[in-house]
């Protein structure tokens, strides 16, 4: 790749514009041929660009404003969704959506981060950054799922837990910690999908499961590339280097044995064709749920324990 460009979609947009211009002008058969040729070229170009995205560019795709969010996936994948609000302690948190739904005839629980589309909605959803109430609401739904023995699906897409004053006062760290411990010990099947940004502890809090899946262009990291760059390089501008160094892409995480499966995205990413993305995801979710649902719950629980127990790479020397 020549230059690592933030606006890597520009050639695609230019070509789309050209096609549009040509279509607007009346012309004969050769004009139609020319358009068809350009459309084919557009598709090839899209595939080529998306096939060689850098880690930083993947982060940009993961944050793409048109990317499908949890409520979109819920609409595509589940029926009878009933959203549940509030933590019954302090308030509701629109940055996390949670509720009851049906998946292929089976009642299930669903939890996910939720970002907004337009400015108003973005603010209301706090850009997908939950406060402690969000995690406590999520835990309420986990408890319901456990009590009534329903499988749980979670969808992860957050820049991180909200670093705000009130969030700290009300125990952001405690809420995340309890959620981690709770999810690790639920007896029900849990399938986690990282759909966009897997931002640190705020993502992990709802990402402990029997299966952890990642969309091809999603990211998962301990800190944002910008945050890492600011601390280790003392320069936010080094985000591209940080994105590469931290190994945040789906293939990286698969290699590090943190995720089980990478879910392919349509050419141009999930945002190019949300319906198609949902149906690709659907197939994987169905297969994964089937696999883990057939296990006795005690085996499943121990397998989940061992799955996370094995994570990490360290050395061990014997000197005694």
């Amino acid at each position: 790749m020549a230059v690592e460009d933030d606006d890597f979609e520009r050639p695609l947009r230019d070509l789309e514009k050209k096609i549009e211009e040509l279509s607007g002008v009346p012309g004969g058969d050769d004009r139609a041929d020319e358009i068809a040729r350009l459309v084919r070229r557009l598709e090839t170009m899209r595939q080529e660009i998306y096939a060689r995205l850098s880690p930083w560019q993947r982060a940009l795709v993961a944050r793409h404003p048109k990317r499908p969010y949890t409520l979109d996936y819920i609409q595509f994948l589940f029926s009878d969704f009933v959203e549940i609000h509030g933590d019954r302690k302090y308030s509701d948190d629109p940055a996390i959506v949670a509720g009851l739904a049906t998946y292929k005839g089976t009642p299930v629980a669903v939890i996910g981060h939720q970002k907004g589309r337009d400015t108003r909605e973005k603010v209301r959803r706090n850009f997908g950054m939950p406060r402690p109430e969000g995690y406590r609401k999520a835990m309420r739904v986990m408890d319901l799922a456990e009590k009534f023995q329903r499988p749980l699906f979670t969808f992860v897409d957050t820049p991180g837990a909200y670093p705000g004053k009130g969030a700290e006062e009300r125990g952001q760290a405690e809420a995340i910690a309890i959620s981690l411990r709770t999810m690790a010990r639920l007896s029900i099947p849990i399938v986690v999908t990282v759909t966009g940004e897997g931002g640190s502890g705020g993502a992990l809090a709802i990402a402990i499961g029997d299966r952890v899946l990642m969309l091809e262009n999603s990211i998962y990291s301990v800190i944002s590339p910008e945050g890492c760059a600011a601390i280790l390089w003392s320069d936010q501008g080094k985000a591209k280097e940080a994105a590469r160094a931290m190994r945040i892409t789906a293939p990286d995480l698969k290699e590090l044995e943190i995720v089980d499966e990478i879910i392919p995205e349509p050419p141009g990413g999930a945002q190019a064709d949300p319906a198609r993305q949902a149906s690709i995801l659907d197939e994987v979710l169905m297969a994964q749920l089937e696999e883990i649902r057939s296990l006795p719950s005690s085996d499943r629980l121990e397998m989940r324990y061992q799955k996370f127990r094995r994570m990490g790479k360290f050395g061990q020397a014997k000197f005694f």
């Binding site: 705000g164 910690a177 981690l180 502890g201 601390i231 994570m311 990490g312």
Partner: protein
């Protein structure tokens, strides 16, 4: 949001042999909090606490161990675990060079020491974090060691005490460090279900992924005075909300006021208070009733460097004034040295 505190290290840390020197060198020291000039011996006599304003100077993990166990005697375990550089991470400096430097500087393999011994006669597992090693940051080695401490407590059915002192997860290990939160929390879930006591002690600072996992999961969460405790760092919060944080924000007293801590305890009373709590938490009868038929053996057993196999499984929770069946700390201080990282 994780280890911003790195940048605040004011001077290179002294080697462990001179670990008392964590209080600035010389005959007199200036308190970091009240800025008073104090006679150093007075600070040392006072458990490294400022006699004027009660500021708790940061002390090393080994000093804590010596201060907490009966007669200062304990056995270090899991000393053979060390960090590698799984991502070949390089920022302005390669991670493996940083690791080598901190090993030399602290004489430790990583940012936590696991030990066992007795406290007020109770057998306990203790995990103590060392801020001097890369800001106490949590990578795979720290995660593994804390998990082994939890599993040891689970296997031997003895209480766990973890003393946290950490800027959070270690960025140089990427998502692997993030996953340590999940790993430890899962182990603590088992411990919780087994009804085995866990006391979490938060010291200055406890932040990021450490707070948001094991530090907040104790049956009791207690802290030293004025410790900085939080999820996000103060600078990140100030940048986000674009306003100055009030004095004392995210300090122990603030957390206590907001209901996030059980109590604050001064360093010189720490041991005594922990023992008082253990008297309540260690209920031999309840534990015997809930004990699994055979040992709930986990991965840690057997693989740990120098773990003592204690025969009387059920009697372990009982208080005993018997001498410890293992060598004293002096022997254990001989560290296993990791091979050179390639």
């Amino acid at each position: 949001m994780d280890i911003a505190w790195f940048k605040k290290i004011r001077k290179p840390k002294q080697p462990v042999e001179n670990r008392r020197m964590q209080v600035p060198e010389g005959l007199w020291v200036k308190c970091n909090s009240c800025k008073e000039i104090i006679y150093k011996k007075e600070v040392l006599r006072n458990s490294n606490v400022c006699p004027k304003c009660n500021y708790h100077f940061r002390i090393s993990a080994r000093e804590r161990l010596a201060a907490l166990f009966d007669e200062g005697r304990y056995q270090e375990v899991d000393t053979d675990i060390y960090s590698i550089d799984p991502l070949r991470f390089r920022d302005v400096k390669p991670y493996k060079d940083r690791l080598r430097e901190y090993r030399e500087r602290t004489g430790l393999n990583d940012a936590v020491i696991n030990a066992r011994g007795t406290m007020g006669g109770f057998q306990v597992t203790l995990s103590v974090m060392e801020y001097g090693f890369m800001g106490g940051s949590m990578g795979s080695a720290v995660g593994e060691k804390v998990t082994r401490a939890v599993e040891r407590s689970l296997d031997e059915r003895i209480p766990l005490v973890v003393i946290s002192c950490s800027g959070g997860a270690r960025m140089q290990e990427g998502a692997l460090s993030l996953m340590q939160m999940a790993k430890i929390a899962a182990a603590l879930g088992k411990l919780h279900e087994a009804g085995i006591p866990y006391i979490s002690v938060l010291t200055d600072p406890t932040a990021g992924g450490v707070t948001a996992s094991y530090a907040m999961l104790g049956d009791l969460n207690i802290a030293e005075p004025k410790a900085l405790i939080g999820f996000a760092g103060p600078r990140v919060i100030e940048q986000t909300i674009r306003e100055k944080l009030p004095e004392g924000f995210q300090r122990s007293e603030f957390l206590l006021e907001h209901g996030m801590l059980d109590f604050i305890v001064e360093r010189r009373e720490m041991r005594e208070i922990l023992i008082k709590c253990l008297k309540f938490l260690v209920n031999t009868e309840a534990l015997a009733a809930s004990a699994p038929a055979a040992g709930s053996s986990t991965a840690a057993a057997g693989s740990s460097g120098g773990a003592v196999q204690d025969s009387e499984a059920s009697g372990q929770m009982a208080r005993s004034r018997e001498p410890l069946p293992f060598p004293t700390s002096i022997v254990a201080r001989k560290q296993a040295q990791p091979p050179e990282i390639r």
